[in-house]
Amino acid sequence: MEWEVVIGLEIHAQLATKSKIFSGASTAYGADANTQACAIDLGLPGVLPAFNEEALRMAVKFGLAIDAEIGLKSVFDRKNYFYPDSPKGYQTTQLHHPIVGIGHIDIELEDGSSKRINVTRAHLEEDAGKSVHEGFNGMSGIDLNRAGTPLIEIVSEPEMRNAKEAAAYFRKMHSIVTYLGICDGDLSQGSMRCDCNVSLRPKGQEEFGTRTEIKNVNSFRNVERAIDAEIARQMDILEDGGKIIQETRLYDADKNETRAMRSKEVANDYRYFPCPDLLPVIIDDNYVEAVRATLPELPDAKRARFAHAHGLSAIDAAVLAANRELAHYFETAAKIANDYKLAANWVQGDVSATLNRLEISIGELAVSAEQLGRILQLIKDNTLNNGGAKEVFNALVEGKGDGSAESVDKLVDSLGLKQVSDSGAIEAIVAEVLAANPKLVEGYLATPEDKRAKAIGPFIGLVRKAAKGVNPQVVMDVLQKKLSEL
């Protein structure tokens, strides 16, 4: 039978606030266990949560970025469940009145087309603590530093039809929240996690099949692999006439398979009710418009501008716009050089290759955007040829610069990479080369006119050997002139 895959994602993004959603404890990552867990985070009796205005602002910002309805009245609810990493016995979240309503984003597919994915809602909630199961003599250790870190949970409509679309959606959301500066986007630290709801139905059937939920997938690649593994598992069961059990599963990246989490005998009953400790959050249009005024240029707009205003190819524009830091680096260099295409070639070429080779991010690259811009300027005014430019770039990568544009010029001098473009100097070299190689000259003169363009090659090589850093275009011009005079 032919099956249609139905995928919906729930993405949790930690908001980049300094303090927690309901307390003044720090949200900084990596502190000693429980040194950032205050009385409110611990759920001690008698404490009152106080809502962080920045968490609200960031959530509204997100809603505006995905063109969503903003909840002018949003209400916090308690989702009751028992687990030691949530010491209050409930999670404060938003059930019926989320801060962000229906919105949408567009994802780019491999064939270059785009697809709109609707977002059902996004709500504010608090993160839980972390449990450590190893190293405590058969007990579990609880670290509540993360408890109370603000999250937005972004719920998509079940509109993705394969794992690649799901990964593209996750990537796009990552791009949006990092552009907005509302989430640091560090997947390795759990700043963004993704739950994947997957089901299959016979092609053409309206009704959804039974779904499973793969919890806490934390990389773009694993979203794709986990979903593909789950699709294969479900298809095997269905093809054999079996039934899918609605359950929560975990993805094991080493084995590339999903497995069921230990299912509870009693279905969870979260017993939601409005949180009596928190009043309804009311904002008005003025508030929303003030937040709208702070929206930066978003990935789609930047991509369109790179392509239309600056003539980059669709692929180049998409790659360069996807990451805010990379886009900023690229554009800074492009503006200095006043040449977007040249800068795009370099950022996609030598810069990206270097980042991959050293496994670093653009922020860690020893070559600043200003320095790359200066290198590009020197290419454009013929001070550097391409080989010389690469040499300077590599020297900077190795730390032979201080980040300033001036250090590029110093390196060009100290490495002797300045191209000789002075035609007088080049004429003298050319004359020497021609005098020293009479046989080559004879051969050239015996070559028919239409094949001389090729025959001039050996002379260029000899001239460049005799004087490193000569401008090849000037060499060509001088050679042609001198040879035609013979």
Partner: protein, 95 residues
């Protein structure tokens, strides 16, 4: 609205309460009575009443995003039954 005996066990489980099997029938009867009592509210026509999120007609005040808490771990952990290396220890839970 009548609860069955399994529902009573489930509620006890969710509430982390240990109940005596012999007492289930009585809990079943009492809890069902309470539900019936509350259920009388369903008779009221609330179609024109906006659901209330909070009894006070007030709006949530916002707190500036500033770190105001210091590390008081040692103080808090004085009342914890068991701690190690700064972690609170609990019976092993593996999902």
């Amino acid at each position: 609205m009548a609860l069955d005996q399994q529902q009573v066990r489930d509620i006890a489980d969710l509430s982390r309460l240990q109940i005596d099997e012999a007492q289930i029938a009585e809990y079943q009867k009492n809890l069902s009575n309470i539900l019936d009592l509350v259920d009388q509210l369903s008779a009221v026509d609330t179609s024109s009443v906006e659901p209330m999120a909070h009894p006070l007609d007030a709006v949530q005040r916002l707190r500036a995003d500033v770190v105001t808490e210091e590390n008081n771990r040692d103080h808090f952990q004085q009342i914890a039954p068991q701690t190690e290396n700064g972690y609170y220890l609990v019976p092993r839970v593996v999902e």
